[in-house]
């Protein structure tokens, strides 16, 4: 398609019909404070297409029953839909088996599951866990808690001023005491795409495992856990256009089999007596209690949806938006991008001289533009760049160049008010 903008014509990928995609998202067809909604906060949560809303509605209106133990028709239907969602996730991540995919509440719970279950069993005093300087709090705090409990040491891969990890420093951190390397595939605050394949390989050479926080990567690029050779990979359904409260922990079967259960309860057992309980097989060993059935089914629909569009097409289109947006924002005097990695996802985090992000966010909101302001749950990133907060516009495949123009116009208005 091509969209005329001020004084120039921008052609984006001819194979991507963004208007057709937008028609799938009812939420985008509204005005906010009298202006058309410009939703630029997809890194926080992505919007949901009608097919996802419909899948959840269908479950509640037609198939609603508890799963796995019922012999009646509705229970069998709901079990089939829920397990079908796991099969869709297998295609989405290219895991070897459905049994390596654990339904969890989201990325945060996935990481906590590994740090609790794997960590308690395998980490001892004097051991080391490596994370990076650009992690979300959810990939810092669980490891910190584990280290405190075990007397282990948390080590941090530093980054440069562009927001790229320093691999030579990472190499120096690795040693025989390193047990786990846990890093983000894509940084939520900076947009940096980390070379996770190389990071995993280096961890393995040192005899350590690697967990990848895929919360920001899963919605934007094709993920192949076998090609990456990741030991654990986590993502959240709601960032891939699915509902909140559902996500996935992928783990290699031999690792998951060797780990103790995370929570005890129904579904995760084989036999229970007051003397002894034996546990269920994978993946159910880690799925205690009635799960978020509607959420799982909704996430299945969302993964189908993005796979139908094509993750490669999504990446290519979003990259063009990023290039366009970067150029557009850099034309605004006094604006500084935070996160300028050479390999970057469609996240535009920035500061403006003398204007606080919260004021920027409020003025943009009144123009119908939704951005995120604050530390983005990555306070160490803010400290690294010596700023209290940033304004972040995060893009998805349903955004348009016209919306980036609206952002740029909105920022001009911000400048008018505060200068």
């Amino acid at each position: 398609m091509s969209t005329p903008t001020s004084g120039m014509t921008v052609s984006l990928d001819a194979g991507f019909d963004v208007e057709r995609v937008r028609a799938d998202f009812p939420v985008l067809k509204q005005t906010v404070h009298g202006k058309p909604l410009v939703y630029l906060d997809s890194a926080a949560t992505a919007q949901k297409p009608s097919c996802v809303v419909e899948a959840i509605r269908h479950f509640h209106e037609v198939d609603c029953a508890n799963i796995h133990r019922g012999v009646h028709e509705l229970s069998q239907r709901s079990t089939a839909s829920y397990e079908e969602a796991r099969a869709k996730t297998k295609r989405f991540l290219n895991s070897r088996s459905k049994n390596e995919l654990i339904f969890v509440r989201g990325t945060t719970e996935a990481i906590n599951l590994v740090s609790s279950s794997w960590g308690r069993k395998n980490v001892k005093s004097g051991d080391e866990i490596v994370i990076s300087a650009m992690e979300h709090h959810s990939n810092i705090v669980p490891w910190q808690m584990l280290c405190e409990e075990k007397g282990a040491r948390l080590r941090v891969i530093p980054m440069n001023d562009r927001g790229e990890l320093l691999l030579e420093e990472y190499e120096k951190l690795l040693n025989p005491r390193t047990r786990m390397v846990a890093v983000a595939h894509i940084s939520n605050a900076l947009g940096t795409v980390n070379p996770v394949r190389q990071i995993i390989e280096m961890a393995h050479r040192a005899g350590a495992l690697a967990l990848i926080d895929g919360a920001q990567a899963a919605p934007h690029q094709k993920v192949d856990v076998q090609a990456l050779d990741a030991d654990f990979y986590a993502f959240s359904g709601h960032k891939v256009c699915g509902p909140t409260g559902i996500g996935i922990l992928y783990g290699k079967a031999k690792l998951l089999n060797a780990m103790p259960p995370y929570q005890g309860g129904g579904d995760m057992i084989r036999t229970v007596t007051f003397e002894k309980t034996t546990y269920n097989d994978l993946p159910y060993k880690f799925e205690a209690g009635t799960p978020n059935i509607a959420g799982g089914i909704g996430m299945g629909a969302s993964l189908d949806y993005v796979m139908r569009i094509g993750l490669d097409k999504i990446s290519a289109y979003e990259h063009e938006l990023l290039v366009y947006g970067t150029e557009k924002l850099l034309q605004i005097p006094g604006l500084r991008l935070i996160g300028t990695a050479r390999d970057k996802a469609a996240v535009l985090s920035f500061v403006m001289e003398g204007i606080h992000p919260h004021d920027i966010g409020t003025v943009l909101d009144r123009q119908g533009i939704a951005v995120r302001t604050g530390h983005h749950c990555a306070q160490p990133v803010m400290d690294r760049f010596q700023i209290p907060a940033t304004t972040r516009a995060s893009l998805a495949f349903y955004n348009t160049v016209g919306e980036i123009d609206a952002l740029a116009a909105g920022l001009k208005k911000v400048k008018e008010i505060f200068s």
């Binding site: 204007i355 606080h356 992000p357 919260h358 004021d359 409020t362 003025v363 009144r366 302001t373 604050g374 530390h375 803010m382 209290p388 907060a389 008010i417 505060f418």
Partner: protein, 147 residues
């Protein structure tokens, strides 16, 4: 409209905050922190018995929190501890209730527009929370958080 929030007095005080400096002879101090946006503020008070003789602040924050701190320092001088705390209550009501705007708030009425921006109430009250902690705690240097 957004101009009602960022009205002229607020913009003026955010760009040129009054009483924005440390105070060597302060006898009451407190620190305020809004973890949501990273705003930090340090408040200095010189009390003569029950009377606020001088007040100043330093810190970094958004336009609303800076202007609020600046206008607060202007409105406190000469007030008793009780009067200052009563003003805090009135200011808080101005931001969080639909109560009619009272005249005794003076210049502080310019923050009336914050009512329509619930996410920004904490910005406007950071300095006042810090004041309360400076006036009501015995510790030399308390730290208050809006969370």
């Amino acid at each position: 409209m957004v101009h009602e929030l960022y009205e002229e007095t607020i913009l003026d005080h955010s760009k040129r905050p009054r009483n924005c400096h440390p105070m060597d002879d302060a006898n009451h101090k407190a620190e305020g922190y809004n973890p949501l946006c990273g705003d930090k503020l340090k408040l200095f008070l010189r009390m003569d018995g029950e009377i606020v003789k001088d007040v100043s602040f330093v810190g970094s924050g958004c336009a609303i929190s800076t202007a609020s701190a600046s206008l607060m320092t202007e409105s406190l001088r000469g007030k008793t501890r009780t009067e200052a705390l009563a003003l805090l209550e009135k200011f808080h009501d101005l931001l969080t209730t639909d109560s009619p705007v009272t005249k005794d708030l003076g210049k502080l009425v310019v923050f009336c527009g914050v009512r329509d921006y619930p996410a920004r109430v904490k910005c406007a009250t950071l300095a006042w929370h810090t004041l309360k902690s400076a006036l009501t705690t015995d510790s030399e240097d308390p730290v208050v958080s809006t969370e």
